[in-house]
């Protein structure tokens, strides 16, 4: 841990200094501003739409952070050859990966924290003006939704580290991470779709496709598991067992991905 912390801190500082973060912050502000505008166009369930907008803004901004800051942080050391000076110090390659990852976790946590504060301000303001449309509303469920979103972002970061450990350019890592995100969010929907009876579908699914989807289902992280925006927006019941299993799934997947990344990175040959 002692060797990890300095790397994590440097990574975090580097991330904060990244110029992309200004753009991302501006974007988040615009989205929160848009919330007020959109909510005024909804006659009844303004509370639901406000929560939808706030949670979506948090997760989308977080996604931009992972894709455009996180991947850069990892790639910069390789692109600019600064990796040599780091690895010449008394730290192992695994420690380097773990430290970097820890720094990214720190960056995500703090960013999501700040975004949540902004979202809270936006919701509180709307709640003051549209109180009667916030009947079904629960802060604790919103907090849980934000926490699970954070876990999803950390998982995606771990996967991007795995890709970065064996690809040669950051662009390929970016492309693979985006593909993973899209597949991860939609795979369980696609699986349900192809497993529904052919009469309902209107076409038959070939066994090859079905098996391919099934393979993808177990291989790619199931990111839609971490999405309880709908439940949070309507204050619908969320069971403890769901939360427990999902957190366990997330943590195990993160550990697997980051350990695998470290293992591959140890064998990597630098140009």
């Amino acid at each position: 841990m002692k060797t990890l912390w300095p790397i994590a801190l440097v990574t975090f500082k580097e991330g904060i200094r990244n110029r992309a973060i200004y753009g991302i912050t501006l974007f988040a502000f615009l989205l929160f501003g848009a919330t007020a505008l959109v909510v005024n166009m909804v006659p009844r369930e303004a509370g639901k739409v406000a929560v939808d907008m706030a949670l979506s803004t948090i997760s989308f901004t977080g996604l931009l952070l992972v894709l455009f800051v996180g991947i850069n942080l990892m790639a910069k050391d390789l692109d600019k050859r600064t990796i040599y000076t780091i690895l010449s110090r008394p730290i192992s390659r695994s420690q380097y990966i773990f430290g970097k990852f820890l720094g990214m976790v720190l960056l995500i946590t703090i960013t999501v924290g700040i975004l949540s504060l902004l979202a809270m301000v936006a919701i509180v303001l709307l709640k003051m003006t549209h109180a009667e449309y916030f009947e079904r509303f629960s802060w604790s469920l919103i907090a849980l939704a934000v926490f699970l979103t954070m876990l999803m972002l950390i998982l995606l970061t771990a996967v991007s580290f795995l890709f970065a450990s064996f690809t040669s350019t950051s662009f390929i890592t970016l492309a693979l991470t985006i593909i993973t995100y899209i597949i991860g969010q939609s795979i369980s929907g696609v699986k349900t779709l192809i497993e529904s009876p052919p009469q309902a579908l209107g076409f038959t699914v070939s066994p090859v496709t079905a098996n391919l989807v099934k393979a993808a289902y177990y291989l790619f992280p199931n990111l839609s598991l971490f999405n309880i925006k709908l439940q949070a927006a309507h204050d619908l019941p969320v069971t403890t067992s769901y939360v427990a299993w999902t957190v366990l799934y997330g943590v195990v997947y993160i550990c697997l991905a980051i350990t695998l990344a470290a293992l591959i990175f140890r064998k990597k040959e630098f140009p």
Binding site: M41, M53, S56, S186, L230, H234
Partner: protein, 293 residues
Amino acid sequence: MQRLFLILLVVLAGFIHVVSLGKASDAMKKLPQGADYAFVLPSPILKVAALEYQGLASDVLFLNSMVFIGEAQDRKEKPKVKEWEWHWWLKTLDAATDLDPYFFDPYYYANAFLPWEAHMTEEANNLLEKGSRYRDWDWMLPFYIGFNDFYFLNKDVEAAPFLMEASRRPGGDPMLASIAARLAFKENRTETAIFFLEETVRGTDEESLKKLYETRIQALQSIALLEKGVDLYKKKFGRFPSTVDELVRRNIINQLPVDPYGGTYYIAQDGKVISTTSSELEPHFPKSMKLFH
């Protein structure tokens, strides 16, 4: 000098920008429209494509449908909304509620427009039944279904269980249960309808919709008054009056009620009171909607 020229150029460009944007979007509006509305992606595909933003996608679809209703208000032609447009509108709301079946607004507006304006009561009820299934705490949705069954489809027996359900849910008026019982007797349909609409107003906060419903109540109250007069006339003279004026002339009623839709009343051969504006309360659009101010 060069700097002044540059500033002038920028100002000129800014001016052209504003003008051309206005002209282009005006011209765009005059192009044959319809392609925008023509289709809605099937819900399973929308669900997958929306990734983790299904709630947001549902909001966007709903807002689309609201923008359409708002634009249709300004149309000159009659009917303001074509049949295929209502089908598109329904599909959009259906997709919005597939993405987020707990979202109340799409059901609320489907109920306010589809049975009254589009004569698509069955379709509206299918949508409302989906809502009632998911929003099992909400008394308004089964209430709407019950009303539509009773008022538009003349399915009194089918309406009763929905009203019972509405009376059981939190906020639902226990009186609804007795209305359900009243439906067993086919009498006083107009008064039952008035009671129904008064309940609807109770569950409506939106001012323009409230006004819309209140006008409908007023129209029904006028008809109820005339119907009572016709009954009294029949008892007194043993036949139906041929015109509503006869009711006033024979001092059955003091004066003719005003049709809020601007029509005149006449009496059909079977003694039914009908207005020229409506075979079943002429549909019309709310004059003002919060959204477009």
